[in-house]
Amino acid sequence: MSKQFTPNNPLPQEAPVPDEIATFSEAVEAEIDAHLAKYPLKRSAILPLMFIVQRERGYLDKPGVAYLADRLGVRVTDIWEVATFYSMINTEPVGKYHLQVCRTLSCKIVGADKITEHCKSRLGIKPGETSEDGQFSLSEVECLGSCGTAPMMQIGFDYYENLTPEKVDELIEQCRSNQLSNGVR
């Protein structure tokens, strides 16, 4: 007869393998402490801390998630729950330069499609893809609050506005020769 599940008689489980936990430098730990000091509840710092993990590790990976759960005193699933809700939190690796072209109406009617097409043809990738050398990712994103200077895109956190295909060429050229900040901070 199979064993009945009750809270006092749990199903036998394999011993859990502890997650690998990310570690950070003292300077980064101090930065994290400064964020935590802003809030009465540590959990409030989840998004600011995710951005830091993402910056340090390229994306929010499993050891990064384990670190956050530990640091904030919440479950690993609590971290994933939040991470998967917000479009700026990357749970998969992205290219060094993440080109995010605004696709929403104000940009759309003044040529956002042309900018996206241009990026596609210059980079050889479609929105949602990363180039094989890991240098570039391309995304189409929703309104970035730059409608008066449309069309536009963000590379990392940096805004590039009033774009033309020529300007895009220049930017991509600067990325290729590592002369442009990737806007990650």
Binding site: L47, P48, G145, T149, Q154
Partner: protein, 438 residues
């Protein structure tokens, strides 16, 4: 891009063109923190709320709720801490005013928040900024540090018995977090799902404590209201809509930008054709979405020669809304079917997934739009879109469902020909009965 006032003295934009306008020095040289000094120098919290009520200031985030009233809902006798939260999530398509206020005049926001905190008995303020505005957060952090060093933030502000902290907080890319209760959940470290109301945030907001959530433009109006008095501020606008309003103008105009207009500015047509310098390339005006993507679209025929007044009442009378003031102008090259599809895709992406009508409804709307665009639609698809909207509007948990429905309903009503053009071939000509509803 233009930034300035038309038809009034600039209030919120008074300093944006000055050199180093973001610095404390510039701000103070031009009257900055004098209103805070006035408040701490002898006004009671009730006096401040009284001036706000007299000013007829209405929330500038989109809903237009009277600010003084909102503040007065915070219970004075609550033993819990109280919070002032600035909604700087600015993600309504077509809206970019808050970005420039914070970029050019961050201290005006800090002063507005401090006055709000004093009036509400709060010791902590958070500025919830959309994650994409990282450079704005950096500007605000610098301004807060500068204010703290000058004794304007922290303990014993201006030497008085008033302590208040101001912190920035970053979102991470979610339109729904502009809805105030979703914002509060996000600020608590949760997914940005809206909360059931009531209780309203004024009673149970951040961490279950009394909280006021106000838009950047609302809070930055406060120092001017205190300086000139509520009544004088109200008189700049109309009886029911006091003061001035920022309009973020984008799309097909020769001079896009952030325009500060007195509430009740007389004529939308003049605004587009003269102040915004008209439509580029000699094209004709086709449509305007005057208050951010969530409001009803207005055809040129509802604007030209109609002397539409630009305030809350005037735009409702003209068939739309002030919303966030995200003023999107479209010329006659725009296919309203395409523009509405674009916005519907936005709402589908941004639906938080919490409630079924919005999550499933916006997904179906996009599916129907896409099949029409591919030429695989059904003759009844315009009616199907309206039916779907009817099942979303008023039936979803928060206003995002309404916001997704209104653009479609108004687009089909006001621009039937743009939908007919896509559907008629599918219906085998114009004779199909479903097209007669268009």
């Amino acid at each position: 891009m233009f930034i300035g006032a038309i038809g009034c003295e600039p209030l919120q934009l008074a300093r944006v063109q000055l050199e180093r306008s973001e610095s404390l020095e510039t701000y103070q040289k031009h009257g900055g923190y004098e209103s805070l000094r006035k408040v701490l120098g002898g006004m009671s919290p009730d006096d401040v709320i009284g001036e706000l009520k007299k000013s007829a200031l209405r929330g500038r985030g989109g809903a237009g709720f009277p600010t003084g009233m909102k503040w007065s809902f915070v219970p004075k006798d609550s033993p819990k801490p109280k919070y002032v939260v600035c909604n700087a999530d600015e993600s309504e398509p077509g809206t970019f005013k808050d970005r420039y206020i914070m970029e050019r005049d961050p201290h005006m926001l800090i002063e507005g928040m401090l006055i709000a905190a004093y009036a509400l008995g709060s010791k902590t303020c958070y500025i919830y900024t959309r994650g994409e505005y990282r450079y704005i957060i950096e500007i605000m952090d610098r301004a807060i540090a500068e204010a703290r060093a000058a004794g304007l933030v922290g303990d014993k502000i201006l030497g008085k018995d008033f302590a208040c902290e101001v912190y920035t907080h970053s979102g991470a890319g979610a339109y729904i977090c502009g809805e105030e209760t979703a914002l509060l959940n996000s600020l608590e470290g949760l997914r940005g799902h809206p909360r059931m109301k009531p209780p309203f945030p004024a009673v149970a907001g951040l961490y279950g404590c009394p909280t006021v959530v106000n838009n950047v433009e609302t809070l930055t109006a406060v120092p001017d209201i205190i300086r000139m008095g509520g009544e004088a501020y109200q008189k700049l606008g109309t009886e029911k809509s006091g003061g001035t309003k920022l309009w973020s103008v984008s799309g097909h105009v020769n001079r896009p930008g952030v325009y500060e207009l007195p509430m009740g500015y007389a004529d939308m047509e003049k605004f587009i054709m003269e102040d915004c310098q008209g439509i580029p390339n000699g094209r004709k005006l086709k449509a305007v979405i005057p208050g951010g993507s969530s409001v009803y679209i207005m055809p040129a025929s509802d604007i030209e020669g109609k002397k539409v007044t630009m305030d809350y009442e005037g735009l409702v009378a003209a068939g739309s809304m002030v919303g966030s003031g995200g003023f999107i102008v479209m010329d006659d090259t725009v296919d309203i079917f395409e523009s509405t599809k674009n916005l519907t895709e936005f709402y589908k992406h941004e639906s938080c997934g919490w409630c079924t009508p919005c999550r499933e409804g916006t997904d179906w709307l996009v599916k129907v739009f896409k099949r029409i665009a591919r030429g695989e639609g059904k003759p009844d698809d315009a009616q199907l879109l309206l039916d779907l909207c009817d099942n979303i509007e008023g039936k979803s948990f928060c206003p995002l469902g309404d916001a997704a429905s209104w653009p479609i309903q108004s687009a089909i009503k006001k621009f039937p020909e743009d939908f007919r053009r896509h559907l008629a071939p599918l219906a085998g000509g114009n004779g199909h009965k479903s097209l007669s509803t268009l």
